[in-house]
């Protein structure tokens, strides 16, 4: 099956019921999306599918044919950090960083739809994510900072 990942067409010969997260990590070699719970409960596996934040750990890869998948690796056009990625670095919006790709992806999806989100908008968009290090205060600040910058790092 042909799937576009980070603007490259990949051809996978896999069972269409396999999970998108497994195919990304094991077949495409993209380990930015993380396994956290396997139940869509923690957000660590989040990727963009046609610009929508999507839990790749509960998404069958077969449903991705003809869709555009963007992982956190795909936000870095030309080696430059996207405004969301830069804001997370600048605000130290992480400690261990394991959950960070998921937060960055959902923030990117939020800002594509809503360029000036309220604090409430930010929290409700990110409530499906867990940061066990508890960097939430900084994550809110990073999203607010990124919202002030129009480049969200994806051409979708």
């Amino acid at each position: 099956m042909e799937i576009s990942i980070n603007n490259l067409t990949h051809n996978f010969e896999v069972n269409p019921e396999r999970l998108l997260l497994d195919v990304l990590r094991q077949e495409a070699g993209l380990t930015g999306a993380k396994y956290g719970c396997g139940e869509g409960n923690c957000g660590a596996c989040t990727v963009l599918v046609d610009g929508e934040a999507t839990r790749s750990c509960i998404t069958p890869v077969g449903s991705m044919v003809g869709r555009n998948v963007t992982t956190v690796e795909g936000l870095t056009a030309g080696g430059e950090l996207s405004s969301v990625q830069q804001a997370f670095v600048d605000e130290s919006a992480f400690q261990c960083g394991y959950c960070t790709p998921g937060f960055v992806i959902s923030t990117t999806a939020l800002l594509l739809k809503n360029s000036s989100p309220s604090t409430g908008d930010i929290k409700s968009a990110l409530n499906g994510h867990i940061c066990r290090c508890g960097a939430y205060v900084r994550i809110v600040k990073a999203v607010q900072k990124a919202a002030g910058n129009p480049d969200h790092g994806t051409s979708l």
Partner: protein
């Protein structure tokens, strides 16, 4: 990437400065820093980066001292083949021990390079110059010189926001096989029969392994191994029916050891009967899970010469190596442990997954990677021990404590685990502090300020309960009974931050205070909560924090905010439930942890006193928070609190 072969300057010395943690087989001298002919600098430490930012601090400090770019500084951490022995990354001590020593090493290198420059650089530059530095306790002046060098924005941040950082869960070798484990359905279950005939027909099946108490399947892919496991038939003899939280908390005391006395000042029974009021309380903190975001994972590969290399996530590569050597029955010298990026630990991530991977790799003759799923992680990883705390305290007519008798029963095989934070800072002339251990039905292990966070809950809730019963303001009651100046300072500071004197409690709105000490640092917190419609909401937490001199204020505040959030989870929702030898809540649905909508406004004030040397930052922030929130809930509801978590006591289902 070692600077081997082209090293021009080498600094050697003890890997730590000062006396902190200098126990065990720490070498008197080891290579700490090397400078290569191209000017690049390599620094070596056995500490682990798991989110606390030590790679950043060490790199920036060395670059700044030597006046070079951070890109030219390579800090090598946690690889037993490359770094000096280290006991483990615990106790919030990395910066003030290893960091201070690397600073000393960088300064020695700087002085040597300056001298060379003065002597026009015509020395025999083919020889490696070695300089030895001392491991003496750093002076406050040394820390003062170090402070401006520890920068804020993380140098390893870009790798974390782009997916480049390789965690143990991400690490892969070419040609690795994958392991999937077959576990007893309950604690203590014994295997009676096993049949892998159908599993062996699964495409990609390599081998069923039964060795060293481990049962697992090795497959060409993770999917193949998992699928094959689902076709292995087993029968178990289960005996774990009595392993249940129904027996808690009473079993902690009923089965507990004789308490060990940590302090015994004065005659306790005389003291307790001498006051005007005797106030007693019993407090319970249940088992809680670390629940770090990255589940356990490890890859193991054996060499033809019997050597073993393990890539994993753990708090100490050398403790991991010692464990593997002992349990595999091979020389530690034959084992190399390399710690990858660690996706959270907080005290868990013990040796089991590395050992399991090593056994499956040895038996199958392949490199093997094991990565737990979330259910396995919750079911098998170590948890923070539950504890029961009994307190009897007497006050005189003026509200002065005259006697304090504290006995804590901590689950676990070692009363030492419950020792941290058990002592009382209050001035009671008669004080007895005792801890006991009690058999733990669940595998238990470390946690952020293990023991400290639990003991503080009991003590600080009791203090506030006493103040309420005596009709004395909780801040005044503490200050009246606390002469230690650093405790007093954090209390007075947090009272100002929270506008304590003019707070207005009402039905459903409450304020709670708690003070604590951990890893050398003092911390006071005020929580404001709203209890409405059966739901507890923590609206605001003020924190005053005294860790002496501060190297990196933003990094410290990040750790303190994280501690407040983590401790809030233990206050409101977290409890590992188990019955019939099984953990019942093995996902984030049943085990509720704080999310972004739960997070209060958090204000942190650092008391940066240059006359006090730096102390721990990563853990002390968690010790008072559960008590501060519990005290606020008691204030809001008018009902005293004696156990955690709080939310199910208000309503089983929060809205």
């Amino acid at each position: 990437m070692n600077a081997s072969g082209e090293v021009v300057l080498r600094i050697i010395g003890p890997p730590f400065s000062g006396s902190v943690q200098q126990t065990g087989a720490i070498p008197k001298s080891a290579v700490l820093l090397e400078i290569a002919s191209d000017g690049s600098v390599f620094a070596y430490s056995g500490k682990v980066e798991y989110g606390q930012g030590i790679r950043n601090s060490f790199t920036r400090m060395i670059a700044s001292t030597l006046e070079i770019e951070v890109a030219d500084v390579h800090v090598i951490l946690a690889d037993t083949a490359r770094v000096p022995y280290d006991r483990g990354t615990t106790g919030s001590a990395s910066t003030r021990t290893v960091g201070a020593q690397l600073f000393r090493a960088a300064n020695a290198a700087k002085n040597e390079l300056a001298e060379r420059k003065d002597s026009d650089g015509s020395g025999a530059d083919t020889d490696v110059v070695e300089i030895e530095i001392s491991g003496d306790e750093p002076s406050p002046e040394e820390f003062t010189r170090l402070t401006p060098h520890m920068g804020a924005v993380r140098i390893d941040g870009a790798d974390r926001v782009t997916g480049k950082a390789v965690f143990a869960y991400d690490f892969a070798l070419d040609g690795t096989a994958y392991g999937s484990l077959i576990r007893p359905p309950s604690i203590g279950a014994k295997l009676v029969r096993i049949d892998s005939a159908r599993a062996a027909q699964v495409p990609g099946f390599i081998q069923l392994v039964q060795a060293n108490g481990i049962i697992g399947v090795v497959g060409e892919t993770k999917e193949a191994a998992d699928r094959a496991v689902s076709f292995v038939r087993t029968r178990w003899d289960e005996t774990g029916d009595d392993v249940s939280d129904w027996s808690l908390p009473s079993a902690l005391k009923d089965l507990g050891s004789d308490p060990v006395s940590l302090r015994d000042d004065g005659d306790v029974s005389a003291g307790l009967s001498s006051g005007a009021r005797l106030i007693s309380g019993v407090y319970y903190a249940p088992y809680v899970a670390n629940a770090q975001m990255e589940p356990s994972a490890a890859t193991a590969e054996w060499g033809e010469d019997g050597s073993l290399t393990v890539w994993c996530a753990n708090r100490g590569p050398f403790t991991e190596r010692a464990y593997l050597a002992e349990h595999l029955g091979i020389d530690a010298e034959k084992i190399r442990v390399i710690i990858e990026e660690v996706g959270g630990s907080f005290g868990t991530k013990s040796q089991s997954v590395s050992f399991e991977a090593a056994v499956l790799a040895r038996e199958s003759g392949r490199a093997v990677k094991i990565s737990y799923n979330r259910h396995e992680e919750f079911s098998t990883s170590t948890v923070r021990p539950a504890a029961l705390m009994e307190i009897d305290a007497a006050v005189d007519q003026s509200g002065k404590l005259v006697a304090w008798d504290y006995t804590a029963f901590h689950a676990g095989d070692n009363a030492f685990r419950g020792r941290r934070g058990a002592d009382s800072p209050y001035d009671a002339p008669v004080t007895r502090i005792r801890v006991a251990d009690s058999p733990s039905p669940l595998p238990h292990g470390s946690y952020r300020s293990l023991g400290g966070a639990v003991n503080h809950f009991g003590r600080e809730v009791h203090i506030e309960t006493m103040a309420r019963e005596l009709g004395i303001d909780p801040l005044k009651f503490r200050l009246d009974n606390l002469s230690h100046p650093r405790y007093r300072r954090v209390l007075e500071e947090v009272a100002l931050m929270s506008d304590w004197e003019s707070r207005e409690s009402s039905d459903g709105v409450g304020y709670g205070l708690a003070v604590g000490f951990d890893a050398g640092s003092y911390v006071a917190q005020v929580a404001r909560v709203v209890v409405a419609n059966g739901t507890i909401v923590v609206e605001r937490v003020d924190v005053s924090f005294d860790c002496g001199q501060v190297f990196n204020p933003d990094g410290a505040i990040n750790q303190i905010e994280g501690s407040v959030v983590m401790g809030m989870g233990t206050a409101l929702w977290e409890e590992v439930e188990f019955d019939g030898g099984r953990v019942l809540n093995t996902g984030f649905g049943g085990y509720r942890v704080p999310r972004i909508t739960d997070v209060p406004e958090i204000q942190v004030k650092l008391i940066e006193d240059p006359s006090n040397t730096p102390t721990g930052v990563g853990e002390p922030g968690i010790v008072p928070i559960a008590a501060a929130i519990a005290n606020a809930v008691a204030d809001a509801t008018g009902k005293p609190v004696d156990r955690l978590p709080l939310q199910p006591q208000i309503s089983a289902f929060s809205s």
